[in-house]
């Protein structure tokens, strides 16, 4: 929707303001980073490499260490061990003010005593740029984020979305080698968020700046990023293109965290197949290691189910959500197991809440895993 068109139009969108030349990004590496806070390992052997000009979204549940990873890259957090390299050189011991990065924070971080223009010019003032040049550059950047008319306003006179735009302009003003964004949109309402998300991506592409974007919103991550890194308890679980992470998760955590899946008990059959809900379907590629006859859990996407109204079916429709062309149905099966299935809206007449249905697996599962120790 808006996201896709925004990204597609990026090349032909408003040109970057005069004084802001497109920059070739640098390569960024975090290597075996460790950081503990008492008992908690916020980073536990965390490694990630970002290619020049690439936007990587770091996705993960709350408290998994995303902010810590970003701050370690910025130099705002000391590492217990590990190495940070920017453009090939080791910056682990370099203080944040000499790493040449731009950062946008989750909390509103504009300096309350300065106008939007002064905020954007702050980094340039530190770099001893003459006042006229500084003002010109700051104006260009405010134009870039669409706030040229608000340059004289103080932060308290700007909306949340406007403040984050100014913060973005401020971060970009110093022509950073790397742009770091820590959930900059999470305090904004859905509409502004989608808009600003597109805008960040457009500017990032135009400037070709290497970017790390932290979020716990998977839609944000999947729609914006060149690659998505999924993180859990201080470790990077998988990093890959959005479709890779979505279609070929490397473990059950990634499969369950990205997108919607249902967990269903199954039995491995002969010849790399698995018996799911009375149907034999092929095991996913690279997952043939289970011995025939072993009990497993399979993870299936909603579109891998077929749901038929059937008075003798064992499933019971618990909830339904109509989404236009398709609908989602939550079906309770014996086990007890609950699955989410996508079915065409044309079935809306028969598959209603409380009706009995028959459920079949129609496709290969996304992932096969050991059954959970405790039955749900």
């Amino acid at each position: 929707m808006a996201t896709a068109s925004g990204v597609l139009e990026a090349g032909s969108a408003r040109p970057v303001g005069g004084g802001v030349p497109p920059r070739a990004g640098v390569r960024v590496e975090l290597d075996q980073c460790e950081r503990r806070f008492g008992e908690v390992a916020a980073l536990d052997g965390f490694s990630l490499a970002i290619e020049p000009g690439e936007l990587v979204a770091l996705l993960g549940p709350s408290g998994c260490g995303k902010t810590t990873a970003l701050r370690a890259l910025a130099g705002l957090e000391q590492l217990d061990s590990g190495e940070v390299r920017i453009g090939g050189s080791d910056v682990t011991a370099v203080p944040p003010n000499r790493r040449g990065l731009g950062m946008v924070f989750q909390a509103y971080s504009l300096f309350p005593n300065m106008t939007a223009l002064e905020n954007v010019g702050f980094g340039l003032r530190l770099r001893k740029l003459v006042a006229s040049e500084r003002r010109r550059r700051a104006h260009d950047l405010l134009d870039l984020v669409g706030l040229g008319a608000q340059s004289g306003r103080f932060p308290h006179e700007l909306s949340g979305g406007q403040q984050q735009r100014v913060a973005l302009a401020r971060a970009l003003a110093v022509e950073p080698r790397v742009l770091l964004l820590d959930e900059p949109l999470s305090a904004l309402d859905a509409k502004v968020r989608a808009q600003l998300r597109d805008e960040i991506r457009r500017i990032q592409l135009e400037m070709g700046i290497t970017t790390l974007f932290v979020t716990h919103d998977q839609e944000e991550a999947l729609s914006m990023a060149d690659r998505v890194g999924v993180m859990a308890s201080g470790r990077l679980q998988q990093v890959g293109s959005p479709d890779e992470v979505y279609e070929r998760p490397v473990n059950a955590f990634v499969a369950e965290f990205v997108g919607s899946v249902s967990r269903v008990p199954a039995t491995v059959g002969a010849g790399a197949t698995v018996e799911v809900l009375g149907r034999s379907v092929p095991l996913p590629a690279g997952q043939a290691a289970f011995a025939p006859g072993s009990r497993v859990d399979v993870l299936l996407r909603p579109e891998s189910f077929a749901v038929h109204a059937d008075r003798d079916g064992l499933g019971l429709v618990v909830r339904r959500a109509f989404l236009g062309p398709v609908m989602h149905a939550v079906v309770a099966l014996p086990g007890p197991v609950e699955i989410v299935a996508t079915l065409p809206s044309s079935a809306a007449g028969e598959v209603v809440v409380g009706s009995a249905v028959r459920v079949e697996a129609t496709g290969s599962p996304l992932f096969v895993t050991e059954p959970r120790p405790e039955a749900r």
């Binding site: 910025a74 971080s109 530190l126």
Partner: protein, 312 residues
């Protein structure tokens, strides 16, 4: 509104009646009047006493006489120097301390608050004896020492003013933002934190100045000739002149503080973030300043005279 009505007059139905509101209004006026009288009567009486000439006439002789007293003027200069010094040291010492505690050791915040209250608990005489014991005579005679002492004595007020302002800032975010934009620690402090602490820092400075200008006991015990001690000296011989000077000092200080409050208020309305609690630090600070002034400059003559009589 309801808080101002007298508890005994409350109707059982709960909502205050019209009459209650009127009583509330009266009660408020009376409270305000009494408070005003409490502060104004001594000042007016002192002023009258100082200006009264022979046979019920009024004369400015006492006021003009004070400008021709070189010792008094010198003592005023000394006091101003010491109080400015004390204010400067206060800002330089306490601002980084408060920032550091809030940023890096938030668990020590409570402990710091208690620690800075200690000067209120330890009597000045005890401190003076400690100073005599701890330092050689040459050091004890230096006005720098007196300035340092005033930093400590005014700390219960000044630290609170600064700390209130620091706590009202989103310190972590501002510091991180400054640092990531290329500011070194000193630059972050000077360009990001100090401008946003302006009101609190002004408050702290003025509390310290007001305290130092009016402090008598410590200066007297350490044998300094400061404005209050000289005033006391004059008071033993020419009471009307001393009274004139103290009234003059009081009015002047009050005018300065009022000006500062107005300035602080305007600043807040202008540049700073709406809803930011900078006013908490600033507001409390001003109140504390007025306390400090009324508690120390005003009793310059009558209050402290009593106190010193008890000290042999």
């Amino acid at each position: 509104m309801a808080a101002l009505t007298l508890p005994g007059r409350r109707t059982t139905r709960g909502a205050p009646t019209r009459a209650e509101f009127r009583v509330g209004g009266w009660a408020r006026s009376i409270v305000l009047l009494c408070t005003a009288m409490y502060f104004l009567v001594p000042v007016v009486a002192s002023a009258r006493y100082a200006l009264e000439g022979a046979h019920g006439t009024y004369t400015l002789a006492a006021v003009t006489a004070l400008f021709h007293d070189p010792v008094l003027l010198q003592s005023l200069l000394t006091s101003v120097e010491i109080s400015l010094g004390a204010a400067g040291i206060t800002l330089v010492l306490l601002t980084p301390t408060s920032v550091w505690v809030n940023l890096r050791m938030p668990r020590l915040r409570r402990a710091m608050e208690s620690l800075t209250l200690l000067p209120l608990v330890v009597p000045v005489v005890v401190v003076v004896l400690g100073i005599y014991g701890a330092f050689p005579t040459a050091v004890v005679a230096s006005p720098v020492l007196l300035a340092l002492e005033y930093v400590v004595l005014a700390m219960p007020y000044s630290y609170r003013a600064i700390d209130g302002g620091v706590q009202a800032l989103d310190l972590h975010t501002l510091v991180d933002a400054g640092r990531s934009l290329g500011a070194s620690w000193p630059e972050t402090f000077r360009r990001v934190l100090v401008p946003n602490l302006r009101t609190s820092l002004l408050s702290a400075a003025f509390i310290t100045i007001a305290y130092s200008l009016g402090e008598f006991a410590m200066a007297n015990l350490l044998s300094f000739t400061t404005f209050p001690t000289e005033l006391f000296q004059i008071g033993t011989e020419q009471v009307d002149e001393a009274t004139a000077v103290s009234v003059f000092a009081l009015v002047l200080t009050f005018a300065v503080l009022l000006g500062l409050s107005l300035l602080g208020g305007r600043r807040r309305a202008g540049g700073l973030r709406r809803g930011a609690t900078l006013s908490v630090g600033g507001g409390d600070g001003i109140a504390a300043e007025v306390d400090a002034v009324l508690g120390h400059v005003d009793p310059g003559v009558p209050g402290i005279v009593h106190e010193t009589r008890e000290v042999p």
